[in-house]
Symmetry: C2
Subunit: 277 residues, 2 copies
């Protein structure tokens, strides 16, 4: 799993003056490659497009990137599934935050082994904690998957055991927003709720997919602000992420859910069908 | 001005899997090199030390970095003054936010030409605007000079003319915090005020120096929260930055200061003396 393509060239380094390194001035997408096809590619591309617009980074040519992804897939064709990560930075510039003279975006494609998540995370659920590291609020950066990820880095490193599979992050005022690498959903009285992401958080591609699948199943989905207490009063809780799909939450802090909820199970089944299409 | 040293080696690229690029997982210092000596090196090192502690990044060896800086100075000895930028990242890791297995920090030293700020910015003052891009609040990241700089990037690119020399950034609730590349000070009734930086902002090395010089001059300095209106009621306003030192503010939004204030001028003079020591 060593293929790296930078602006179409096989190499493994970028220039130090690239603004991706200097300021985290860029975006990324982490994508599931299954049987030679990127799952939810259109949704990933749509989020990248929106991110580029928000940061005023010129959107790279889609066909060019698709061709480069094909090259990486060719090299890894013996792998049934693996991860492709796409990074787009504003490119190389002079020192200073001003970017009006920056010309060429940098596109980076890397492949990574599939994570070895045990199957029981899907079938029986995961154990989740709350993180102390808060999520800060900025309308312009909310929702997009930019390269400024120190908050997630600090939150994820509050624990280093296998006791917890994910940590939930809150705003300074105590609203639950999302996990370090996932989005959170709550089911209450057969209705689905998930935090809105207009001030912070990442609008996950799987989050969007699950919202669409829910509607298809006739279950209403609403955006809602949750405190910890409100969240734990749900009938079912689950996490979404474009790699693992849907993980039911078995335990959150001291609240235990005795079995995988019905709505969660239905959505998992629907997602499997959707993936096979 | 092309010298680049990465972990002591002369080269100009870093590995793509470096977490500095992947997540902005690192810190930097932008330093003024004058006549073969880094101005305020101890204060820069102190901030870097605090930043490493906050992010749990192992602090590189000081002597090692000093030796590497000496190498860069040797190469640029014909320059009376130039900039040295030091970046320290957590180093190369696997995909994912977890960093417990990351072993070796990356240290990057680059040299840059001195910016061509006209002398009138010092003697007559600068024109400043307010930015629409807000600063988000996170206790763990406040004060340190980390690599997550998208807010400053977006704020600095709200204007692209020479009409303004700096933009001030505010919190979502309307408190003025700092400039995109500087700290802000207000003088009122012979007392100095500057915003506190416990929730956001960068604790500038020159900010600290100016606070110390003020005390030496017998002028009290207090941390204070400002709205725009409160700020503009000051007798004098000035900006600080480790490269340009002290810039008086001549115009902020529609408020005009007719001449460089007395306290500002005294501090500028004191800073020149301090630099010559």
């Amino acid at each position: 799993m060593k293929s790296i393509l930078i602006n179409g060239e096989v190499k493994s380094t970028i220039r130090v003056l690239d603004r991706g390194l200097q300021y985290g001035d860029g975006l990324f997408e982490t994508m599931a490659m299954r049987n030679g096809k990127i799952h939810l590619w259109d949704a990933h591309w749509e989020r990248l497009t929106y991110g580029c617009k928000q940061l005023s980074i010129p959107l790279p040519d889609k066909e060019l990137i698709e061709n480069e992804i094909d090259l990486i897939c060719d090299e890894n064709k013996e792998q049934e599934k693996f991860i492709i990560k796409l990074i787009v930075t504003r490119g190389e510039g002079d020192r200073g935050y001003r970017f009006s003279n920056v010309q060429n975006v940098t596109r980076i494609l890397t492949s990574h082994s599939w994570p070895d998540y045990p199957n029981v995370y899907q079938t029986e659920g995961v154990v989740v904690r709350y993180c102390e590291t808060t999520l800060s609020e900025n309308k312009k950066l909310a929702g997009i998957k930019h390269l400024n990820r120190l908050e997630q880095v600090l939150a994820r490193n509050e624990w280093d055991t296998d006791e917890f599979q994910e940590g939930l992050m809150l705003t300074l005022s105590g609203d639950v927003v999302d996990g370090t690498m996932s989005n959170i959903f709550a089911v209450k009285d057969n209705t689905i709720f998930t935090p809105g992401l207009t001030l912070c958080g990442v609008a996950g591609v799987m989050r969007k997919t699950v919202i669409n699948l829910s509607k298809k199943l006739g279950v209403s989905v609403y955006e809602k602000t949750f405190t910890k207490v409100e969240l734990e009063q749900a009938d079912e809780l689950f996490l979404t992420n474009s790699l693992f799909g849907i993980w039911p939450i078995k335990i959150i802090a001291k609240t235990r859910f005795t079995k995988v909820g019905e709505v969660t199970k239905k959505l998992q089944d629907e997602l499997v069908k959707f993936r096979c299409k």
